[in-house]
Amino acid sequence: MNDQNNSQSTGSFFPSDQPAIIGALGKEKLIESLKKMLLIRNFETRAESAYQQGKVGGFFHAYIGQEAIQTAAVDVIGSKSWWATSYRCHALALLLGATPYELMAELFGRVDGNAKGRGGSMHFFTDRLLGGFGIVGGQTPIATGAAFALKYQNIKDQVAVCFMGEGAVAQGAFHESLNLASLWDLPCIYVIENNFWGMGTAVERAISVERIAEAKAIGYNMKAYTFDGMDYFNCYAGFAHVKKEVLETQRPVLIEVITERFRGHSISDPGLYRSKEDLKECLRRDPLLLLQKALIQAGMLDEETYKKIDKEQREIAVAAMEAADKSPWPDPITLEEDVFAPQGRI
């Protein structure tokens, strides 16, 4: 890590009390969260190997290293709100209830895929996930529209959550969205997942400020928070606070989560811009490792059980892969179907 990264990651985060959260959530819920994070890790690791075997094509952006963030967010906010994210969307789809099979089948381009084999790795959906969006920052107006719809429909117990990488902060769509959300009191939570790299461009070469959320939010009369994205508990505490605040105030909030992606930007990126030492250093703060340690310390987990859970999740991912390989290809006769939605009242 370079100096700036160090100064960012060692800056102060939203205060969180790990023992208190462990106590409040209890063993069952925490093991469930660990399971989800392990499912995401194993799903993507298997999918990467499927990619290497030529079973998956196109772009493939792994969330590996960032799992704690969206796992905590969905744990706190629940799947009954609106969600949107970038093309790095595998984890959020899994967390919001898409099955490993439908997602793997989508990666394989098969008819049973999450989007019938039309979307691929960057475009996963659920009934509340508005998408994996392929244009950097393109999801920010969409999530703002979801928050607008909540306000229009007078729904006060839901929010819209919009994830993006730090690279999106340079896009106009981000700024127009924040201005509109603040101007119109829209319940939208914007989450900048700062993994320090926009493809191969380091954040300090792309974004003119540090502590991005805190610096940008002021300009839109919004509140801002900074979380430690490697620490499930810090994310949990932060999202819990923000959810409560947004529901109470019906105002948008901007969050920066400091994180690391352990892989390249996409599967075709060997990450030559990052030294082995830097990567090794950040792997020490693997969110899975940190959660595992905390749960072992709390007496809720032992090494053996961790391995067992990991193995179970790996088996789920492998089974999804095997099943996806057997899913039929989409029939070319359907190629031109569904460009337009059917008519009639919806």
């Binding site: 609106w82 949107a84 895929g113 999450n114 989007a115 019938k116 039309r118 979307g119 475009h123 959906f125 009934d127 508005l130 998408g131 969006f133 392929g134 244009i135 393109g138 920010t140 107006p141 969409i142 999530a143 703002t144 529209g145 979801a146 607008f148 719809a149 909540l150 229009y152 429909q153 106009g172 769509a173 127009e176 969205s177 201005n179 509109l180 101007l183 569904d338 460009v339 337009f340 939605a341 059917p342 008519q343 009639g344 919806i346």
Partner: protein, 331 residues
């Protein structure tokens, strides 16, 4: 004026269409620059803020990308936005949200999210508004699968088609002409719809088919009148909907007249007439007695000067010249 009709301007027909659909469906709302307090840059939404309030008539900041995208998101979550662009030239700022999100979403999401949204506003040239406010956008957007593109030329069609557009479950580009907003027409007072995807033969004839849409229909009507005075009976077709294209109506006409002139306000290279012309030769190859002629905007940005603006746009004279060429006659 006959019973059950009203004589109104085209802008009022548009207002009535939106108003009726807002009564019919509470999910319909209007969003755009100056649509509320200012009563609309071209007064299409005059009085609507007072009637409906700021929840459903929403003034935006100057942020086309933001509010167009917000509309797409709202449509994905169950609302039915009518987004006004003060000029369709400003839609270029919003293009990513329209192209990457609105039109691809239903297909790309495996049918999970439809996007029932109307983008409407004036398209093409007004009077001397120069290069950056005069472009015709239909040919650009028609290249993208997923857009429905509607371009009425009169108040009757404008009202009926806008109502159909708001009820459609897909992204619709509804293209108006600033030059036509004040045009008066006698139309029914009662509710009616005009279906999307149907062209209209507005003048029957036997000697040649002229096809156009939107503001250029006026030039074509003048040309047809002039031709009639000279003993040439031209059949005039108003596309009304550009996409999906009603090639059946056009081909039926060309098979009768065996000659065809296509007129559009937009530029000639990959213009709407290029597509229509290609489809006409596909459907009518054996019926054509002469090459298809096109009258389009010349290949320049729109100049400001009156003298130049007039020259770059299709004129009655240019239409007549093309008709005579297609008829192999001397003007």
């Amino acid at each position: 004026m006959t019973a059950g009709t009203q004589v109104i301007e085209l802008r009022e027909a548009l207002r009535q269409a939106i108003d009726e659909e807002m009564i019919r469906d509470e999910r319909v709302f209007v969003m755009g620059e100056e649509v509320g307090d200012y009563n609309g840059a071209y007064k299409v939404t005059k009085g609507m803020l007072e009637k409906w309030g700021p929840k459903r008539i929403i003034d935006t900041p100057i942020a086309e990308l933001g509010f167009a995208g917000l509309g797409v998101g709202a449509a994905m979550c169950g609302l039915r936005p009518v987004i006004e662009f003060m000029s369709f030239n400003f839609s270029f700022v919003a293009a990513d949200q329209m192209i990457s999100n609105a039109i691809k979403m239903y297909y790309m999401s495996g049918n999970r999210y439809s996007v029932p949204i109307v983008f409407r506003g004036p398209n093409g040239a007004a009077a001397q508004v120069s290069s950056q406010h005069s472009h015709c956008v239909e040919a650009i957007y028609a290249n993208f699968p997923g857009f429905i593109i509607v371009a009425p030329s009169n108040a009757y069609d404008a009202k009926g088609l806008l109502k159909s557009s708001i009820r459609d479950n897909n992204p619709v580009l509804f293209l108006e002409s600033e030059m036509d907003y004040g045009d008066k027409m006698e139309i029914p007072t009662g509710e009616y719809l005009v279906p999307i995807g149907k062209a209209k033969v507005v003048q029957e004839g036997t000697d040649i088919t002229i096809v156009s849409h939107s503001h250029m229909m006026k030039r074509c009507r003048e040309a047809v009148k002039e031709l009639a005075a000279r003993g040439i009976r031209a059949e005039l077709i108003d596309l009304r909907t550009i996409k999906p294209l009603d090639i059946t109506t056009i081909a039926t006409s060309v098979r009768k007249t065996n000659r065809c002139v296509l007129v559009e306000e937009g530029h000639i290279f990959t213009g709407i007439t290029a597509e229509v012309g290609f489809q006409v030769q596909q459907h009518c190859f054996d019926y054509l007695d002469a090459p298809i002629e096109r009258v389009c905007q010349r290949e320049t940005p729109m100049p400001y000067s009156k003298a130049l603006e007039k020259e770059t746009m299709p004129t009655v004279e240019r239409i007549l010249t093309s008709v005579y060429k297609a008829l192999s006659k001397k003007l």
